[in-house]
């Protein structure tokens, strides 16, 4: 039974869901991915709980492809959190992840933070959610409190939290997520509540701002339940009956959405957020069909409610694009007519050059989306497809289940809100490279034009005037380094993921040297594009622990220049042998033969999934490629 109250409204409504779940429950060894598929619906909290119980009962018997990764989440709170667990596990299941949860003892969060030896330590969390409710935080405040007392309480909390975060970071080296308190107090003044320093409601709002800024400084992510509740209505998030009954800050009905928010922040840090938004045109970016009505006939722009709605949506898309989301077009249309809408409609916000790929033709959309993914060098699971047509959405969901295809409301003025609520593009920090990404893809288009013009690859590469600049890991670029290390899938030899703290440890380790590479060419700066992490494993042996490169610069022989630099660095460190391994991840087939191509020889290959190679540095000859190499000043 579909519930009209289910909060995940961008997911398709479950049909025959209960029957499918019953069937899985009856199987001796059900397939894990079948469970994952059942999670991809607009489930209410009751269905979420049922799914979680069946999965828990069946988990050990599951067969087939296993979850992508294990995430171990510790939840410490000042009030009840155990009712969040089923929804958290199901939100992870929806992402093909398995979540282990440690629930802190009720009200004991501070003891668990400061205790060095605890169950929490045995659990070894990979991420930790700290949830302090508004009643707890505002405790001690009264309408008689002065402004000074109120500010002092905020400062006291911020000091305590900062110290707690630091201890957790030092001990567990894991992602820390601080939940922002919901403003659950009743006002006692009314509209001008802020005139009363001792107002608990006002205190919640003020401490929320203070936590945000302290967390940003401490490298802690926040969970903005306050903002989500301001959209959805606080009454949908907090139920006073259940606060008094069971000390639940988050109402059970809101847990599916709450869990979505948590998993978004976790998976954004893991580099699993979507990267590319593929857009239909007619009735998605403007009203009406441009092929029928002509450019002047479509609804777009000031003067009509419909035209303004689409204008608003395009503005939202532009903002996403400017912060690093790649846009592409996939439309059943005449290419020339579709393009002319962008070129000649006076109120069009998006311009043709903002699209990294533009497919307006009569081919099936799944084929086009696959072609776009290939051209951009990104995985299908990094793509979101937005189309007003239920038929096209259904087709894409069936053919390409990895692509995220949200349900779309009939009402175009709600399109932007839908994309916001669906949260596919969650990002925890913005780097300069994110800002430059659209420019980078624009430049990529020009480069590929040049590729078409150039007779052969060698001449094309020379014509690019590439310059590869390298330096040892620079702490100032830590955010981008961590992002690259955790997001790169295809050109990644070992797929070892390192969080910020681990990267800092690498930098401090005397047996470790890590190199970062920036590529410039005649079309612009490609930014930080590759990383190599070297470890001394023997007096004369240096091992390449990690070698990864952004797919933006594939097919340009840059990897040969990188090897020249790595070999040179290893020699300078006194090594005579350089070893490297290929570990298959399911996504990195691209580099299976990289080491042999670079001149390495196989030492051991236990199986196809892990092969160890070696390069003799004593007679290593540098590869000749048209890339100028330079060492950057640090």
């Amino acid at each position: 039974m579909a519930s009209p109250h289910a909060p995940l409204y961008w997911l398709p409504s479950p049909t025959q869901w209960q029957e499918q779940l019953k069937q899985l429950n009856g199987e001796r060894s059900p397939d894990w991915t079948a469970f994952s598929k059942l999670a991809a619906y607009n489930l209410d909290f009751a269905q979420t709980g049922i799914l979680d119980r069946v999965l828990a009962a069946k988990l050990n018997q599951c067969e087939g492809s296993q979850p992508k990764a294990d995430v171990r989440l510790a939840v410490l709170g000042s009030s009840t959190t155990s009712h969040l667990n089923p929804a958290l596990r199901v939100a992870a299941l929806r992402r093909n992840l398995w979540l282990d949860i440690y629930t802190g003892a009720f009200g004991q969060y501070w003891q668990e933070i400061v205790a060095g030896d605890s169950l929490l330590q045995t659990f070894e969390p990979t991420c930790l959610l700290l949830a302090l409710d508004g009643y707890h935080l505002a405790n001690g405040l009264s309408p008689a409190s002065t402004e000074a007392e109120c500010s002092a309480l905020i400062q006291q909390w911020i000091n305590q939290l900062t110290s707690g975060w630091q201890q957790l970071q030092d001990r567990y080296r894991c992602q820390i997520i601080q939940q922002i308190p919901l403003p659950i107090h009743e006002s006692i003044m009314g509209n001008n509540e802020h005139q009363l320093p001792g107002s608990k409601l006002e205190f919640c709002v003020r401490i929320a701002a203070a936590i945000r800024s302290a967390a940003a400084q401490a490298g802690v992510d926040v969970l903005a339940v306050d903002r989500q509740a301001s959209w959805d209505g606080l009454a949908n998030w907090h139920d006073p009956r259940l606060w008094h009954h069971a000390k639940m800050e988050i109402a059970p009905q809101a847990t599916p959405l709450f869990a979505e928010l948590v998993l978004r922040v976790i998976t954004a840090k893991m580099g699993l957020s979507a990267k590319c938004l593929v857009l239909d045109l007619d009735n998605t970016l403007w009203g009406g069909e441009v092929g029928e009505l002509g450019v002047e006939g479509i609804a777009l722009g000031q003067g009509s409610p419909l035209g303004e709605s689409f204008l608003h949506f395009q503005n939202y898309l532009l903002a996403l694009n400017e912060r690093g989301v790649i846009l592409a077009v996939c439309s059943k249309n005449d290419h020339g007519k579709a393009l002319s809408a962008f070129q000649s409609h006076p109120e069009m916000i998006l311009k043709p050059e903002q699209f990294a790929s533009f497919k307006a033709n009569w081919e099936p959309k799944p084929d086009n989306i696959q072609a776009i993914a290939q051209a951009l060098g990104i995985g299908l699971d990094s793509m979101v497809f937005v189309d007003d047509s239920p038929f096209e959405r259904d087709l894409v969901r069936r053919c390409l289940p990895q692509v995220k295809t949200p349900e779309m409301p009939e009402e175009p003025s709600m399109f932007a809100r839908l994309l916001m609520d669906a949260g596919y593009f969650e990002s925890t920090a913005i780097t300069q490279d994110d800002r430059n990404r659209s420019a980078a893809y624009k430049a990529n288009q020009k480069r590929s034009e040049l590729k078409h013009k150039s007779v052969d690859l060698k001449a094309y590469l020379s014509g690019l005037e590439m310059r590869l600049s390298w330096k040892w890991f620079d702490p100032l670029e830590l955010t981008r380094l961590v992002q690259l290390i955790n997001k790169t899938n295809q050109f990644n030899l070992t797929t070892r993921r390192y969080h910020a703290e681990a990267v800092q440890e690498l930098m401090a380790d005397p047996n470790c040297r890590a190199l970062q590479f920036r590529l410039l060419d005649r079309f612009g700066d490609n930014g930080l594009i590759a990383v190599a992490i070297l470890r001394r494993t023997d007096q004369s042996v240096i091992t390449i622990d990690s070698l990864l490169m952004s797919c933006r610069v594939l097919g340009r022989k840059v990897e040969y220049a990188i090897l020249n630099i790595v070999a040179g660095a290893a020699k300078a460190l006194g090594a005579t042998q350089l070893t490297g391994e290929f570990i298959a991840s399911g996504k990195n087939e691209l580099v299976r033969n990289l080491y042999p191509d670079l001149g390495f020889e196989i030492i051991t290959a236990e199986n196809d999934a892990a092969v160890l190679y070696q390069l003799d540095l004593t007679d290593f000859q540098e590869h000749q490629i048209p890339v100028q190499v330079e060492k950057a000043d640090t």
Binding site: A46, G49, I50, H245
Partner: protein, 82 residues
């Protein structure tokens, strides 16, 4: 909504939540009669009923309902008169 209709919907809902097909509620059915209906699940059940019937129980009702007969009477009280 008639008492029989409430009963039918409730019966379907219990089978859904406990993932069974064989639950047959009667006015005398209590939590002790259904495996898995503990105090933790009780709150969840009451909230599911609220959501699916679009009603809201009072705090004291959450604890006071002793059997299915009580539950049906309380639901009936909250539903708009036919």
């Amino acid at each position: 909504m008639k008492q029989t209709e409430i009963y039918d919907r409730l019966n379907a809902l219990f089978n859904e939540v406990f993932l069974r097909e064989d639950i047959k509620l009667s006015p005398a059915t209590t939590a002790a009669d259904i495996e898995g209906w503990d105090s933790f699940r009780h709150i969840e059940l009451m909230l599911v009923i609220e959501t699916r019937f679009n009603i809201q129980f009072h705090s004291r009702e959450l604890d006071e309902m002793k059997n299915i007969g009580d539950l049906i009477r309380v639901i009936e009280r909250h539903l708009p008169a036919a």
